[in-house]
């Protein structure tokens, strides 16, 4: 070892390690009513190809500490990636300074009650190590997918992507919490664009980055991969000559890969208690839900049963504890169409007095926890796919989101899909392109007329749920069966 390398090694040992977080907490040079440290270490790998050529091959190594401090009934935070005693001490002092400077303006008298003592571990249920595929093997796989998607000369673009993330979170607090969590996330996407004259159509594997799981390569490189790749390429070409989706009001049947977006936008976000309390009014928006609606409002038809469930083993946003230290557990948000509880963590529950769930989440070490979705699922009913379609005399079946927009109170939405089929006399018939639909949230869910059984239930997710000031992009999971809605306005492209 050279002198230079020896010197560097010595310095490296001066860096703190997350395993010693409780010692770091004890040594902080501040006095406070409560102090919490959350150290997040993450390795994020993204690899993609377009038209059979490598597009992106990158790794992000990330590590930093969030210090939260309660002083004078106010909470402040300081975040740093300088993981030395001096660096973390400076972050703690900044957090203390902000809590002190803003204490007379607090929205709630913060106390230790919002940061319960919790001790425990959580680890993703893993179906295999992410190291089991080499960089070369992933490169080859993505390029092969691109080539296989090009089923015709009319295919003008093909693409494939896979993103893995390993996140470790260490959390300790001055009231004795000590939590370690390790999650392993996998996101994949591929698709093809076909063109004929001035008509262009894109088809993907379930919409943008919808295949999101906690687990290993089994969720991507599975036996049905190549048949699905072939189908995606073929459907992109098929859409070029398909009829436009008609402009009409009819029965709409949604595949689980579109239900993920429908649940996310028109159930998840409006039930976030921080939105109801007004925190998001300047950015993401408020909610049409009022505090008095919990326990009283009929949100949808009696077929509607929605759970907050961070305990599904392979679903994208499962965890054992949220970032305020609350133990994660399954709860009904809506049961038989009745609104029961909201998506509010310990902070929002204390502020509102409403029943909530363990959903105080931060997207990274550099952001404080706020109310977020985790896994929000529509529970299965008892109809098979054939029975759901079979009861529709005339309607439209849609798959795979491609467009989404909803108002700031989560009322008026308009969503578009990649692929649709007409339903005639209980049968799927011709393919339709440019399918869109629009409606108003309570009316839409009130018209839920059929819910598929467990065999139709699939889990998806998104790595791109945006919210918060400063902004936070976080991962969420959504499971759903196929579902049918009456009297929905559908329409096509120009």
């Amino acid at each position: 070892m050279s002198i230079c390398n020896f010197f560097l090694s010595m310095l490296a040992t001066a860096l703190l390690q997350p395993e010693n977080l409780d010692r770091i907490l004890a040594d902080l040079p501040i006095e406070a009513d409560w102090i919490g440290l959350r150290w997040v270490k993450a390795i994020d790998r993204i690899r993609s190809a377009r038209d059979g050529v490598p597009q992106t091959n990158g790794n992000s190594i990330n590590s930093g500490v969030m210090v939260e401090v309660i002083v004078n009934e106010q909470i402040g935070y300081g975040a740093t990636n300088l993981l030395t005693p001096a660096g973390i001490a400076a972050a703690a002092q900044a957090a203390h300074q902000q809590a002190t400077a803003t204490s007379k303006y607090h929205v709630h008298p913060w106390s230790i009650a919002q940061r319960p003592q919790t001790i425990g571990n959580y680890q993703s249920a893993q179906s295999g190590s992410l190291d089991s595929l080499s960089v070369a093997a992933i490169d080859e796989l993505l390029i092969k997918i691109c080539r296989s998607l090009k089923v015709s000369d009319q295919i003008v673009q093909t693409r494939a992507m896979v993103n893995t993330k390993e996140i470790e979170t260490f959390y300790v607090s001055s009231n004795g919490s000590n939590i370690y969590q390790q999650v392993q996330l996998l996101v994949s996407d591929y698709g093809a664009t076909a063109q004929a004259g001035n008509i262009t159509q894109t088809r993907s594997n379930g919409g943008m980055s919808s295949h999101c799981y906690q687990g290993g390569w089994d969720y991507f490189d599975h036996p049905s991969l190549w048949a699905r790749v072939q189908q995606i390429g073929t459907q992109a070409v098929e859409l070029l000559t398909a009829q436009e989706c008609p402009n009409t009001t009819t029965t709409l049947v949604l595949d689980p890969d579109q239900m993920l977006l429908q649940i996310h936008e028109s159930i998840g976000h409006p039930l976030e208690i921080d939105r109801i309390l007004g925190d998001e009014r300047n950015y993401a928006g408020g909610s049409f839900i009022k505090p008095s609606d919990f326990g009283n409002l009929t949100y949808g038809s009696p077929l509607m049963n929605v759970t907050f469930d961070p305990t599904v083993s392979d679903e994208f946003a499962s965890y054992g504890f949220d970032d305020s230290g609350t133990v994660a557990k399954r709860e009904y948000l809506i049961q038989n169409g009745q609104l029961l509880r909201g998506l509010g963590g310990a902070d929002s529950q204390a502020r509102s007095g409403l029943p909530g769930v363990s959903c105080s989440r931060a997207c990274d070490w550099n952001r404080p926890p706020i109310d977020r979705m985790a896994n929000i699922n529509l529970e299965p009913g008892d109809a098979s796919f054939e029975e759901v379609i079979g009861q529709v005399e005339s309607g439209i079946y849609m798959e795979s989101n491609r467009s989404w927009s909803i108002d700031d109170r989560r009322h008026k939405f308009q969503f578009g899909c990649e692929y649709a089929r007409r339903i005639e006399n209980g049968q799927l018939t011709e393919t339709l392109r440019n399918p869109n639909y629009r409606d108003i949230t309570p009316k839409f869910w009130g018209n839920l007329v059929a819910v598929g059984n467990a065999e139709t239930w699939k889990t998806y997710g998104s790595p791109y749920c945006g919210k918060g000031e400063p902004n936070q992009m976080i991962w969420v999971g959504h499971g759903s069966p196929v579902a049918a809605f009456a009297n929905v306005e559908v329409f096509g492209g120009n």
Partner: protein, 445 residues
């Protein structure tokens, strides 16, 4: 030593180290992005959350034998710590690069330019920020985010090319609400905090809020003559960054502007230029290439240039023009017209006045159709007089209409709409946009 000075010195040292470490067959690009920021979040004229974030990250991109890969790692300004991270990144990349297929369109950095831009400012102290901001909004339902601090961007490569950009900036993005939930949106942004100017800004918002005291009017779906204020136009212009003026998107069937390549035109009143003369954002991109001061994109309705990265240039045999990897506008300026502020309501006559729009998305990208919602202070106007605020409406309209034959007039003034995004880190820059009067804007729900 200031944070900026320390980070700059550390970054330069990393570049020196890497130049010594790479072999003759290897090339590298090192970029840096980071901030040291205060974020204070308000709700109901109180502080919801307040804290600081010090977060800087470097990205090392390695090139060898027609292949490339990159690794991002934390950067602290402590050279000894960062040097270890850079060495580990280089070792990791060397282990991976041979496993990746060659990229036939790979481009290596070739520039020789150097630039340093340090834009210091005068920001509120962390101790005083909340008190100063809240003093002006007593009695109001005020919500929003104050974000302030230094933003850093750096570039260095094997050839010795280097760029550095640092800027002290603040943004106060806020809303004021009436008791029944109607709101006005406001923003105060810059590099030098001026409490008197801030108070004037709040006073203007307070006056706008007074117009929202009456019950909102429900508007039936249909086509209405519409005035889009600059903030609303800015959101529509943002759509050009997503399936718009990117050369790669046009080539790959992903752009809404493909018809403009086929001889179609927008209104001669509509022009957009990528304009870096304000200096609000770095002119250098991820390859160290420096964009020209002004690049017209749409001139009098005609698509005259697209944004072309060096990779797209190689793939599609075009000339690169300093675009970033995403080929998205970084500093768009929309040309002004002749409509004076005092003539807006009279020229609108009867129709809708939209201060802001919300949650835009392509509803049919190939036909340029955009959907979104009205938000904040939007009004029904009759015979040139504001009658009432409106209940939120969904619109679904094609840019080939609202920037085409339906574009009646453009204001003779423009406003700077600062980018407020902070996903991952605080964004830089914004757009200069005027207001626009539209003949028939389509509302659907």
């Amino acid at each position: 030593m200031s944070f900026n000075t320390k980070m700059f010195a550390g970054f330069q040292q990393l570049a020196v180290d890497l130049r010594s470490a790479v072999t003759t067959e290897e090339c590298f690009v090192l970029t840096l992005s980071g901030e040291d920021s205060l974020f204070t979040r308000f709700n109901c004229s109180q502080v919801r959350q307040s804290g600081t974030v010090r977060d800087v990250r470097c990205t090392l991109k390695l090139f060898k034998d027609g292949r490339t890969c990159w690794q991002k790692f934390p950067c602290t300004g402590e050279v000894e710590i960062d040097r270890l991270q850079a060495q580990q990144a280089l070792a990791d990349l060397r282990g991976q690069i041979t496993q990746i297929s060659p990229d036939p369109y790979l481009v290596l950095p070739t520039g020789q330019e150097h630039s340093v831009s340090d834009r210091s400012g005068e920001l509120l102290s962390a101790d005083a920020a909340a008190a100063t901001i809240l003093a002006a909004v007593q009695g109001l339902d005020f919500t929003g985010l104050y974000a302030a601090g230094v933003n850093l961007r750096g570039y260095a490569d094997r050839n010795g090319q280097e760029h550095w950009f640092s800027a002290d900036t603040f943004t106060l993005d806020y809303s004021l609400f009436t008791s029944d939930g109607q709101a006005v949106k406001g923003a105060y942004a810059g590099a030098v905090w001026d409490t008197e100017k801030y108070q004037q800004q709040i006073d203007r918002s307070r006056q706008q809020l007074a117009r929202l005291q009456q019950a909102p009017k429900s508007i039936q779906r249909g086509k209405y003559r519409t005035y889009l204020a600059p903030a609303a136009v800015a959101d529509l212009v943002d759509m050009l960054a997503w399936g718009g003026v990117s050369e790669a998107d046009l080539q790959q069937g992903q752009s809404s502007l493909a018809p403009l390549r086929d001889g179609n035109y927008l209104s001669s009143l509509f022009s957009v230029t990528e304009d870096f003369t304000s200096g609000m954002v770095p002119r250098f991109n991820q390859m160290g290439e420096v964009a020209v001061d002004r690049l017209p994109l749409i001139a009098k309705g005609k698509l005259v240039n697209t944004l072309v990265s060096s990779r797209s240039a190689r793939e599609y045999s075009k000339a690169a023009n300093g675009a970033n990897d995403q080929e998205s506008p970084r500093s768009p300026v929309v040309a002004t017209g002749t409509l004076a502020q005092e003539q807006i309501l009279a020229e609108l006559g009867t129709g809708l006045y939209l201060s802001n729009v919300h949650y835009l998305n392509w509803s049919d990208r190939q036909s340029g159709r955009v959907t979104g919602m009205t938000r904040y202070a939007c009004f029904w106007v009759e015979d040139g007089e504001i009658v009432a605020p409106i209940e939120n409406l969904r619109f679904d309209a094609s840019l080939y209409d609202f920037w085409g034959d339906d574009l009646l007039a453009v204001t003779n003034f423009s406003e700077y709409i600062a980018t407020m995004d902070s996903y991952g880190g605080r964004s830089l820059g914004g757009s200069w946009v005027p207001g626009m009067l539209i003949q028939d804007f389509t509302y659907t729900l």
